[in-house]
Amino acid sequence: MTSLVVNAPFVAVAALACVGLYIMVTQRDLIKIVMGVTILESAVNLFLVSLGYRNEGAAPGFTHASGTHMVLPVPQALTLTSIVIGVATTALMLTLVILIYRHTGETDAEKSRRVKG
């Protein structure tokens, strides 16, 4: 039972990743594809944060603390960087979706494509 509780964040990561990948592969609407990418991003960020957790750890806000058991700070830094990168890429993706809509009047991946082969 404890192992399920301990591993619950990782189960959530797997579920989120599967949901994100499923949306990206099956949904034809361009904005839904961008949403799928965002969900996959959240899954990876959750993975990074949860692997840093240490049982009964304090927040990593001290330097040279003795006797205080802390969670790992490095994954939290990695996650912050990843969130910021995610904002930038989501902005770029949505801008390009709007430009495609202006050109073709469609947000469907199949109907708005102009290039194939």
């Binding site: 990948l21 990206m24 592969v25 099956t26 949904q27 034809r28 361009l30 594809i33 991946a109 199949e110 494509r113 290039v115 194939k116 082969g117």
Partner: protein
């Protein structure tokens, strides 16, 4: 394997051979007729007596080239062209497919 060993492929040797060939070709060409009458039939393109069509009709366009090759390989080309759909979802499906195949190969490989 050292490229130096294959001396006859060495670039400088190839260039010298090429220059020698150009010199020989030029020697042959200079022994031909050097004068021709301007503005007469000698200047026109010869098409077995047919009239010369205008430039747009004379030039063989790109989509006609290698037609026979494409026709004979129709069985290979048709599924391939159909697979290139241009839809983003298919691109991502193949990406996940490649990761899955790589995963299966790596996980089932023994310690060679």
């Amino acid at each position: 394997m050292d490229i130096r060993i294959l001396a006859f492929w060495a670039p400088v040797v190839c260039l010298i051979a090429f220059l020698v060939l150009i010199a020989v070709t030029y020697a042959f060409r200079s022994r031909g007729e050097s004068k021709h009458k301007q503005g007469t039939e000698q200047e026109k393109v010869f098409l077995s007596g047919e009239d010369m069509p205008d430039a747009g009709m004379r030039h063989v366009r790109a989509h006609n080239i290698y037609w026979g090759f494409f026709e004979s390989l129709k069985q290979y080309y048709d599924p391939l062209i159909r697979a290139h759909t241009g839809i983003v979802n298919d691109y991502l499906m193949w990406l996940i497919g490649v990761v899955a195949i790589a995963g299966i190969v790596i996980l089932t490989a023994g310690p060679w």
